[in-house]
């Protein structure tokens, strides 16, 4: 529930039915390992984008939307599961221990 002010029991709906959009659950808080993309190695195949369970891979297209210019990780939602690093065919993603 990070990113939102904590509310009292009088203010939240009963039975814990969610009252916020899923985008307000910052799952990035859970991360213990951070994926770092080596953009030199990356071939922009988008396998990481397809496999990411949190849709935390951001894809940047060229203005004509014909070519991928760059992919990046949205650290607000990336849980650090490492699936992207595991699936990457050119080993362009490295999992680095978080130092927080």
């Amino acid at each position: 529930m990070s990113g939102a002010e904590l509310r009292s029991w009088r203010e939240v709906p009963i039975a814990g039915v969610p009252w916020l959009r899923s985008t307000e659950y910052h799952t990035g808080d859970w991360r213990s390992e951070r994926p770092i993309i080596d953009h030199g190695k990356c071939v922009k195949c988008l396998l990481c984008y397809i496999y990411c369970p949190e849709t935390a891979i951001k894809v940047f297209w060229d203005p004509n939307k014909t070519k991928v210019e760059r992919v990046d990780v949205d650290y607000t939602y990336c849980k650090g599961c490492g699936i992207c690093a595991n699936e990457c065919p050119v080993k362009a993603i490295e999992m680095v221990l978080e130092k927080r």
């Binding site: 029991w9 709906p13 009963i14 039975a15 969610p18 009252w19």
Partner: protein
């Protein structure tokens, strides 16, 4: 106005089945277990004959029965199930989920001793094992009350201020398999008007919009039932349940009174049923069918020995009616609390412990409070044994015998 009723020869289980027939829940899912089986058998007969328009789900276990009912209730249905003893223990996991999801499910429990040794007869250890699962718990005395309370239960649980599941308990065999003349409503319409044709699913506010508190696909914002809540919110949802439970005593009282208007029958104030306690200086506190035997003996005892012994029957165990006990037992010389449940490792049985805690805060505490544990595994509590116990209570009151904390009644020492 009291509605027209007919006498039927029903045992406690059939009485529950008939109450269900008159309420006509949308969904019933149940698995048979002695001594609850007759409820399920009878009700499935009603379904097979087309006498009710209820979806009856055959399931492979009690865990599935309560789970199916939870799913149905989350979809907005009025749903009910029934079980006993080991079956109730198998439901345990889902019981706390039902209450935390705020689903007003009705569960009939035919009280039976839990294994082992394996036993099918009455004691309350099964229900007492679930007393902290966030359910409302009402204990009935006979088949008539089982019928009446089953109908009341839907109205109590579904109240918008409450929205908590409810257990209606009846004594295994002593009530479940003992036939008596039960007055049932001639026209099921009376019952439907009392509880409402269908469950009224409340509206709640989510993200600034009003939504139905259900899994309805028509909701502008679809709801998730049963999400995560960690250390940051779990406690708040438990606090909400406590608040809902605190509304229950007055709702039980109101429903008891309203039911009296259509049936001509009320049970004390709905929470406790006092009998002859006003100027009695000895009062026994008891639940279930034993209360009837106690009243029978107490009446004779007063005639023969001119000693007045009051009987206070606790009907609602959750929420526990501590204020009623504090008021009704104030200033008594001696209060004896009878527990039909295991007390291993505790100072006394559950009814004793709850009562004792309430009386500690009473303005005018009773002088002596003691506990009898009786009737485990269906052990009989005959009138002669109650009379002997009354003699003992009088001797203790008069200082001829030393008081004690706890005694076992009817066990071979």
């Amino acid at each position: 106005m009291v509605a027209e009723q007919v006498n039927m020869l029903l045992n406690g289980d059939f009485a529950v089945a008939w109450a269900w027939k008159h309420v006509e829940p949308d969904v019933v899912a149940a698995f048979p277990i002695t001594p609850q089986t007759l409820i399920v058998e009878k009700f499935s007969e009603f379904v097979a004959n087309g006498e009710v328009n209820t979806e009856f789900i055959n399931v492979e276990s009690e865990h599935s029965a309560i789970s199916a009912v939870v799913g149905a209730a989350a979809a907005g249905a009025r749903a009910a199930t029934a079980t006993a003893a080991n079956g109730l223990q198998l439901m345990h996991e889902i019981l706390s989920i039902t209450s935390s999801l705020r689903l007003p499910v009705m569960l009939a429990i035919v009280n039976r001793a839990v294994s082992g040794p394996i036993n099918i007869h009455c004691d309350y250890t099964d229900a007492m094992g679930q007393r902290d699962m966030g359910w409302i718990m009402i204990f009935t005395e006979d088949a008539q009350e089982a019928y009446d309370t089953t109908i009341q239960a839907f109205k109590i649980a579904e109240n918008e201020e409450v929205l908590l599941p409810i257990m209606v308990c009846l004594d295994g065999f002593l009530v479940s398999h003992t036939a008596m003349n039960v007055k049932v409503f001639k026209d099921a319409k009376v019952v439907k008007e009392f509880v409402g044709e269908h469950r009224r699913v409340p509206k709640i506010k989510v993200m600034g919009k009003e939504v139905e508190f259900s899994l309805s696909p028509k909701n502008p914002i679809p709801l998730t039932f049963g999400p995560f809540a960690y250390y940051d919110y779990y406690f708040e949802f438990k606090r909400q349940q406590v608040e809902a439970m605190s509304k229950v005593p007055k709702i039980i009282e109101r429903v008891n009174k309203e039911y009296g208007e259509i049936s001509g029958r009320t049970y004390g104030n709905g929470r406790v049923v006092p009998w002859n306690i006003d100027d009695a200086d000895i009062v026994v506190v008891v639940m279930g069918s034993s209360a009837g035997t106690m009243r029978y003996v107490a009446e004779r005892y007063q005639k023969e020995k001119n000693v007045k012994i009051g009987v206070l029957r606790v009907r609602a165990f959750r929420p526990f009616p501590w204020e009623d006990l504090q008021k009704l037992l104030a200033g008594k010389e001696l209060v004896a609390i009878f527990d039909r449940a295991q007390d291993q490792g505790a100072l006394g049985g559950p009814l004793f412990l709850e009562s004792l805690a309430a009386l500690y805060y009473a303005k005018d505490k009773p002088r002596i409070v003691l506990n009898y544990v009786y009737g485990l595994g269906g052990r009989d509590l005959p009138p002669e044994l109650i009379e002997k116990t009354f003699n003992e209570l009088v001797r203790i009151r008069d200082g001829k015998e030393k008081p004690f904390i706890k005694k076992y009644l009817g066990v071979r020492e």
